[in-house]
Symmetry: C2
Subunit: 432 residues, 2 copies
């Protein structure tokens, strides 16, 4: 039995869109065999129709995306435009008109995913978005389906290639942040305006998407505590290195014990060098998922780039196409657990605190007393230098952010503490 | 709307089966919310009914698995009995009677998967088997679904925990194989009869399953070239170490260029220490998947154990349950590509060859000529010792196994070559 072709429209034909179009053409035979019907590209909406787009039939090109999604004969709309509007309106229209959607739009999903999920539910269509987090790495489907019989307790990952490239170069070459950023911009690893990457906003959007799926709870970008890497210095990295640690920008989503709530945060953190995430170099991404029965599972691969992202999109297209042929939808988005989303004050981690202190007898005892009074247990203390430059590096056991803030407040009132030079969170220590 | 409960029967209640039963009970609320209907455990078939099984309602226990699968009211049969018969007959009966099957039985799938797949197709039920390869690691679903829009070229992995435990200990402690095996047996990491693990049969079954999925081609256990680790010596590991390599038992499934065919093999191989698989220690598993658009993607986690394997099984149970509620099946098994499955002679890799040679002028030239005549390009030559104990370590560029066999045959005819002491394949070198 020959099945009718499934009609695919593409919104956006930049780097990723062109790769999607290329794969649809070059792998047509494989895709047809895997789906059970051919895919037919019927429209490609672009901003600038004059740009040459080798491999795309020019008669499919249009600058009117609204006209594309107004069609009622589309099976699948692939969206790689990015941005919030007009993209949201386009996708809502596409779904209302019966098309399933495959999107890579992390910003829109993290900011207003629920509007999209509800629209998909209402229209009885699929909404898939594997490419929105960690590019080519199969991650959302494993969390949503493979681990659906388990209880995920934590997701910990490197999900932004630009910042990981910068931190890797700072670690390996001892260079300063500003110099490496300039180099990354010259090489195309960082944008001319790098804010979204280096301030952690991109990673925070991905953390919100991961947390929503992992904990069956609605988590939006606004719920994510976010700190970028622009204040990480070569000195921070050297100090971490001396203690056997590396600094990475981590996205962390945790379920607190007894379902008290979830905390989602993005910030630079020290990781032990032997931790598997510590060896994730340059623009690669990797994500650890911890579940009660499965233990720790890690996913690693290319987090960005035209072809890797297109691979991920095409995987979703195949699933959505199979679903349409069978006349059903994949599992919908659930938020049944509806756990409280708490601020970073509830997060529980270890800290490395760099203090400039007076070099006089009794200082360590006074400082240790402050930590004890605030209920923060000290793991290691290291003293560097002497005289006016005496530094104490204090690494704590796990404590809440609230207890840490309390400790820092008390330390600042001590005459012997000249300055709290820096505080860095520590993640991934064994048995801590 | 309240959905009717889905009836689950469990065949086997060993380590994994008990964990499956425990999760079905303890996570009942979560599972119900994720599926949209409750799961009800209705029968547990065991060998010995007298054994205490805490947490399982004794009235569900039976020693008659045939009576369980004869029921026509089952939704899902979970099989953790293992073995070929009577398990195959039980599963065929279960499917014919309308139940979907979730199994961890790698031996049965690798030996006679097609019989099971055809039965599932005929009965219109699902057959899921994520737990059969790499325990808790989501791997089969990502290959089958996430990468369904891409072309997988290679799967390279550590898929047997026992052998990886032994090789890790040999590498880190410098110990001999027999001593580490005894220790592994005492600790429960190796069976009393370790043959299936140490001779590579377990890994070969998993390689056959991975290759079938990755290449949409029927690959059975008999198609897999298999060599275990029982002949790896402390000296081999030391020599590899000195050159910056580590020895791992790898399962490798490759698609040859131009779709000439696929080659599937399991054997010890040298990996560069900086390769991500080199740092996979003890009983952990990890699998690299290389695809044309996605590039390299790695999956890492616990490859065995009751709870991790049960997590994987429950993930499949949730999918199968959702499918039944929606009245459809997941994507079936396809072998549409039907590529020729070639012997190891067609494999293409690098080699490290250890030769004991006469210590006289012209020997290296004579040996280099032999390699050149056989069309095998030399990458590095290292000479150790002198006099009667002169050794040459030759590392080649990539060549076919056939060309290597030809080279070794010619080398054995050279008077200057006293002995071909050993040959080890080399995988994972950059740009090779």
């Amino acid at each position: 039995m020959t099945q009718r072709p499934l009609r695919v429209a593409l919104l956006g034909a930049g780097n990723v869109g062109l790769e999607v179009a290329r794969l649809l053409t070059e792998s047509a035979g494989d895709l047809r065999a895997r789906i059970g019907a051919p895919l037919e590209l019927v429209a490609v909406a672009v901003r600038d129709a004059a740009k040459p787009r080798p491999g795309i039939d020019p008669s499919l090109i249009t600058t009117d995306p609204a006209a594309v999604v107004a069609r009622t004969d589309l099976d699948i709309v692939v969206e790689v435009l990015g941005g919030i509007e007009p993209t949201r309106t386009l996708l809502l229209t596409a779904m209302a008109n019966g098309a399933s959607v495959v999107t890579a739009n992390k910003a829109l999903l993290a900011q207003d995913g629920s509007t999209l999920f509800e629209a998909a539910e209402r229209a009885g269509v699929d909404l898939y978005y594997e490419a929105s987090v960690a590019g080519a790495i199969p991650l959302l489907r494993p969390i949503r389906e493979s681990l659906a019989g388990d209880r995920i307790t934590r997701v910990l990952g490197i999900v932004n290639g630009t910042t990981n490239y910068i931190l890797t170069k700072m670690d390996e070459d001892g260079a300063e942040y500003a110099d490496v950023l300039r180099e990354a911009q010259a090489l195309g690893y960082a944008e001319a305006d790098p804010t979204a990457d280096v301030e952690g906003h991109d990673a925070a959007a991905k953390a919100a998407i991961l947390a929503s799926l992992a904990f069956h709870t609605r988590v939006t970008l606004d719920d994510v505590a976010c700190e970028g890497i622009s204040r990480v210095t070569a000195e921070d990295i050297r100090a971490a290195h001396d203690m056997g640690f590396v600094i990475k920008l981590l996205a962390i989503a945790e379920r607190l014990p007894d379902d008290e709530g979830v905390v989602v945060r993005v910030h630079p953190a020290m990781l032990p060098r032997e931790h598997p995430l510590a060896s994730v170099r340059l623009a690669f991404n990797a994500v650890f998922v911890e579940a009660e029965a499965a233990g720790q599972v890690m996913f690693y691969g290319r987090g960005a780039g035209g072809a890797p992202t297109a691979s991920s999109i095409l995987g979703d297209v195949v699933t959505v196409a199979r679903n349409r042929l069978a006349g059903h939808r994949g599992p919908g988005h659930t938020t049944y657990a509806d756990l409280p989303v708490l601020g970073i004050g509830a997060a529980h981690t270890s800290y490395s605190i760099n203090l400039r202190v007076a070099d006089e007898p009794g200082v360590l005892a006074a400082i240790a007393t402050v930590f004890a009074d605030a209920g923060v247990s000290i793991q290691v203390v290291r003293q560097d230098g002497s005289g006016d430059d005496a530094h104490l590096l204090v690494r704590t056991h796990k404590a809440t952010e609230a207890a840490l803030a309390d400790t820092l407040g008390r330390l600042r009132t001590l005459a012997a503490v000249r300055e709290v030079v820096g505080v860095m969170r520590v993640e991934g220590e064994a048995g801590n």
